[in-house]
């Protein structure tokens, strides 16, 4: 009797397990490797959770793989070992390498194949243009995009008798020269400081003034491009900064570990040029003075300044996974571009909302009325349609090139080279890198 009972119970148990296994099919895991740590990592986790909670077919697993370099490297190593994730976040400088790799599934194609009819015009064009191929098709999904803006210390300005800066109309570089001189006169140890000097002072300077950074439309149109940064306009700008360096109107704060930001927070300088993602840090770190945001200065000879270009990273989809996985990947990308997600991302981190829908809604909500400085970046980015040389940069070995430009600029600041020598040298060294890169893909 007892034995029979046990056997029946076991049979029932097995049946239940077997049947439930059929009913509740295992959700498919989708791996996303990213470089968002700390606070931004938490925001990412929330967005992932929202997707996972909204359906049961797919589970997205986000993993922090280190900073941008480390994340891309992990992706490369994994791909070579055939263990690549589905989605990889790669910084903007890696765009050319990712595009030519033969390892990716272009986003526009993915969305089309999965049946999504996306109106790409509903996205902020200057953000998309960085990640499009020459035909205007989107290769990767922009995720965190920022642009440089100019922060200034309101209290120090008032003390020096300076007016507040407009949030839409940029001042000229000459005016900035006068402002910093007045700041120094009023007792501030330094005038301005800049972060990411290659991005802000060379790349963005060129874009805003519609100066080509490299030939072949900044590299979009061919691998046989060359750097053109040793042109008179850019060299003049660097020379001007060097003059300012000599009389302390420009202070060099280094590249990493918050040197520039620390100088601004310590009120050692009155003006600070950096990515708009610094807003969050200033909000938390600055307690004893008021600050505000203005667009980057423009040369007086540039009557209609172009847009600034973005920095940040985008999401690339790797080939080599099952077809059913890609359905989930596409659904996840769609989820990320929903207005609620975009608005949440923008509010938490300051990075741009990529869709016009999200932008319009934020405006309607009055978000920008409460926090007008959040809109400075967007306005600067969208003030004019991008030209073929202000839409972005598409260069191979761009990381090395940026490092080269940084090194050469440092040699200008510490007096070892003249601006012309440095820019010539930077162009020559970078061109070597470009030729190496070109040969690799022939």
């Amino acid at each position: 009797m007892k034995v029979r009972k046990i056997v029946v119970l076991c049979a029932v148990a097995v049946a239940v397990i077997f049947l439930s296994g059929q009913v509740m099919a295992e959700p498919v895991t989708i791996n996303w490797w990213h470089a968002m740590k700390g606070a931004r990592g938490k925001v990412v986790d929330t967005m992932i959770k929202a997707f996972n909670d909204s359906q049961s077919e797919y589970v997205v697993v986000g993993t922090y793989k280190g900073n941008y370099d480390e994340t891309v490297n992990a992706g490369v190593a994994a791909y070579r070992a055939r263990k690549q994730p589905h989605i990889l976040q790669s910084f903007e400088v890696g765009t050319q390498t990712m595009m030519l790799s033969g390892a990716i599934y272009p986003v526009y194609k993915l969305m089309k194949d999965e049946g999504y009819n996306i109106d790409w015009k509903g996205y902020l064009q200057p953000v998309l243009s960085y990640y499009m191929n020459a035909n205007g098709d989107l290769m990767s999904m922009p995720f965190n995009s920022s642009t440089p803006v100019m922060y200034y210390n309101v209290d120090l300005f008032k003390k020096a008798g300076l007016p507040m800066l407009d949030k839409e109309t940029p001042i000229t570089w000459d005016e900035l020269g006068e402002i910093t001189a007045k700041l120094l006169k009023s007792g501030v140890p330094g005038g301005m400081v800049t972060g990411w000097q290659s991005w802000t002072q060379v790349e963005n300077y060129s874009a805003i003034h519609n100066i080509p950074f490299a030939s072949k439309a900044n590299g979009y149109e061919g691998l046989d491009c060359e750097l053109l940064i040793n042109n008179p306009k850019v060299v003049n700008h660097i020379a001007m900064l060097k003059d300012w360096f000599d009389d302390k109107r420009f202070v060099y704060g280094g590249q990493k570990y918050q040197g520039p930001k620390a100088e601004f927070i310590a009120q050692n300088v009155g003006v600070y040029i950096d990515s708009l993602s610094a807003i969050a840090k200033l909000k938390a770190g600055v307690k004893d003075f008021k600050w505000d945001v203005a667009p980057l200065p423009v040369e007086s000879w540039m009557k209609n300044p172009q847009n600034s270009i973005i920095g940040g990273a985008s999401l690339w989809v790797f080939k080599g996974h099952d077809k059913k996985d890609y359905k989930g990947v596409a659904a996840f990308l769609k989820h990320l571009s929903k207005p609620e997600m975009q608005i949440y991302w923008h509010k938490q981190t300051g990075y741009f909302p990529i869709t016009l829908a999200a932008y319009e809604q934020l405006k309607k909500e009055g978000y920008y009325d409460e926090q007008p400085y959040q809109e400075v970046g967007v306005k600067q980015l969208t003030r004019r349609d991008p030209t073929i040389i202000s839409r972005g940069l598409r260069l191979g070995y761009f990381i090395q090139i940026r490092n080269i430009i940084n090194e050469e600029l440092e040699l200008v600041w510490n007096g070892k080279k003249t601006p012309q020598e440095a820019m010539d040298s930077a162009a020559a060294r970078s061109n070597k890198q470009l030729r190496e890169f070109e040969k690799t893909y022939q």
């Binding site: 700390g38 190593a77 070579r80 620390a262 927070i265 050692n268 610094a278």
Partner: protein, 306 residues
């Protein structure tokens, strides 16, 4: 010392105190930083008076950095590397010093060369190796078209994938780092200082090689083993680049990596107080090992006094 040298003694103590201060200053400063709230720690210069946020910052560091599980992983990894390296090299050095065989020099040199290329420099190929240990065999298999042979034998199509992945595993964290010759080198140096008479005497007593190893070499090596336990544990604990690549799963990450999540990068809020708090926690286990083991060398040494 034997004679009285008061001046030299005082100087000795002065130098020592200065040395200790210089050595200790960065840590003292870091400890102070962890007691301050963020506004104070971002101030320039940072105030030198400790605040009251120590426990708060420590707790934040622990939870934000998920330090609990990371510390466990680091512990397993470091212990594995320590045991692995010491055991493998005790045998290896014994073989090289106490036997004369044709391949002896080749073995020593080839093992010694591993000192020349630390893991940072061979990282991509080593990763591929660890991702699929049977990779080279797969290459060979494909080259020889053995799929065809297998299919013919079985009577239907067979495709063989040889795969043994070490990713996200303790083995993967530990094994590739065992392939370095520091311990072998040290043991070799040490074994070379052991008087020949001991070996001769053992041979005359009819002892086998392994008995000599167990009863004479090992006890004599106690100090060196203690020192190497310290060195290898610290080495294993402080690994950065390798664990980062080989682990995807956040539950497999080690403490030094988990710490990087706390260190403010160029784009983050300068939460140095929390970051340094985390750093202190992560630094602690190897420091404790060092402090605990150092007494052991002394003990071992006193016994050695001839």
């Amino acid at each position: 010392m034997v004679e009285k040298t008061p001046i030299l003694d005082t100087l000795t103590y002065i130098f020592l105190i200065v040395g200790i201060l210089i050595v200790g200053f960065p840590i003292i400063y870091a400890v102070i930083a962890t007691t301050l709230p963020i506004e104070d720690v971002s101030r320039v210069p940072m105030p030198l008076i400790p605040g009251d946020q120590f426990l708060v910052n420590m707790k934040t560091a622990w939870t934000e950095g998920d330090l609990g599980i990371h510390l466990l992983n680091s512990f397993i990894m470091a212990t594995g590397i320590t045991l692995g390296k010491i055991i493998v090299s005790l045998f290896g050095a014994f073989s090289i010093v106490y036997f004369d065989y044709r391949l002896r020099t080749v073995a020593f040199v080839s093992v010694f060369c591993t000192l020349m290329l630390p893991v940072e420099v061979r990282i991509l190929p080593t990763y591929e190796m660890a991702a699929n240990l049977l990779g080279p065999f797969q290459g060979l298999w494909d080259l020889l078209h053995l799929d065809g042979v297998a299919s013919w034998i079985a009577g239907h199509d067979i495709e063989v994938t040889l795969e043994w992945s070490l990713l996200d595993s303790y083995t993967g964290l530990i094994m590739p780092l065992v392939a370095s010759a520091t311990c072998t080198f040290l043991f070799r140096q040490f074994f070379l200082t052991i008087p020949e008479e001991l070996c001769e005497a053992a041979k005359m007593d009819g002892a086998s090689a392994m008995t000599f190893f167990r009863k004479i070499l090992l006890p004599l090596s106690k100090t060196n083993i203690a020192a190497l336990v310290v060195i290898e544990f610290v080495y294993g604990w402080n690994q950065y680049l390798w664990p980062l690549l080989i682990t995807t799963n956040p539950k497999m990450m080690t403490a030094v990596i988990g710490l990087q999540n706390l260190i403010p990068a160029a784009d983050d809020l300068p939460y140095w107080n929390v970051a340094l708090g985390g750093a202190l926690i992560v630094m602690l286990p190897p420091i404790l090992v060092v402090l605990f083991m150092q007494r052991w060398f002394v003990k071992g040494l006193v016994e050695r006094e001839k």
